[in-house]
Homo-oligomer: 208 residues x 2
């Protein structure tokens, strides 16, 4: 068999992460062995340790990179406009970003418990930052009397669960295409916060 010579760390490294992401998303971190990942990449198991200090770091890096890309992408959005616009921008972004990265999303939600406490804390912190962006929009809309949200924190969790849940059942060959799903979800999002466009009565008086 022809065996590769020379340096390939700049190629093999990404291949290792890609294979790990695919396998972990499908079978779960604990169920995937380093030998499987190596087989997928086309190297021996021992060679993986040239690209990652251990299996835990491999998982952490996948989740960290995913969250960093998420934060970078969301930071590029303009969320400074009216809260209704910001909410729509955020929701559209969330749907698109997550549907485009089904594997990474799945891992980031399912494998949190397989992180060491330190690594978990880091990912949880990034996630909280992301959620806070949405909550800030809701707070602005509530303060402006445009949204009727009993509790902005709970609404944040509810909206993210609802939007992210999409990734668990969406299929490319499903009944509705992405544009339709996006439109329908946006309608539900707006209704859930009783977007001011619906001309509702006074917000409920609920303690923060």
């Amino acid at each position: 068999m022809a065996r590769k010579t020379g340096s390939h760390s700049d190629i093999t490294g990404p291949k290792v992460r890609a294979a790990a992401q695919q396998l972990i998303a499908r079978d779960g971190f604990a169920a995937v062995s380093m030998r499987q990942i190596a087989r997928e990449v086309g190297v021996q198991a021992g060679a993986l340790y040239l690209y990652t200090p251990d299996k835990q770091t491999l998982l952490f890096d996948l989740m960290r990179v995913h969250m960093e890309e998420l934060m970078e992408a969301v930071a590029a959005l303009d969320l400074s406009g009216p809260p209704q616009d910001a909410l729509e921008t955020f929701a559209r972004f969330h749907i698109t970003f997550h549907l485009d990265r089904a594997e990474a999303v799945f891992i980031s939600y399912m494998e949190l418990r397989n992180l060491t406490p330190e690594n978990f804390a880091h990912i949880a912190d990034l996630r909280l930052q992301y959620e806070t962006l949405l909550e800030t929009i809701l707070k602005r809309g509530k303060a402006a009397g445009r949204f009727t949200v009993p509790d902005t924190k709970l609404a944040t969790m509810a909206l993210i669960a609802m939007l992210t849940g999409l990734t668990t059942w969406y299929r490319d060959d499903g009944r509705l295409d992405r544009a339709e799903i996006e439109r329908i979800y946006l309608t539900m999002v707006r209704q859930m916060v009783s977007d001011g466009a619906t001309e509702r009565v006074e917000p409920l008086a609920v303690p923060l």
Copy 2:
């Protein structure tokens, strides 16, 4: 050490399932070993095979029993009234039932991929039956002009994701107690379907 004598299968069997549920909810099916479960129960690993033919069946039984209890409990509800009432009854039930069974819920959502195809099909079928109950309520409300729901199937998935998501962050010692959370979520649920009580305009014309 005093060693138990006589028959204990009626006691040890449930203890095995309880230990398995606790450990699998915490660490994941693939990460939990039969040795761990046995240690928790207080028997040797080999003894577990008196109560389950194998590890897969242990997982499947946990999920099957959970889903069967869910279907039995939901069947006892009266969902025949006005759709607004039925939706409220269903949502309250879903929240309470799921918060009371955090471990079983977590397992039923996280470990689907660790089921054999046959076992998966069985659980998926039960879940679809449950979801259909909610969708039926939404269809009734839409037909009666009480709910503004662009798509009942998507609204079903969105509502279930939102309500079930609660279990991932709810803590007994959190900021809000269960009654408050339930009330807030019900408000959001009603708003999301634009419950007719809000006196809205015509439903959007959207293809089924």
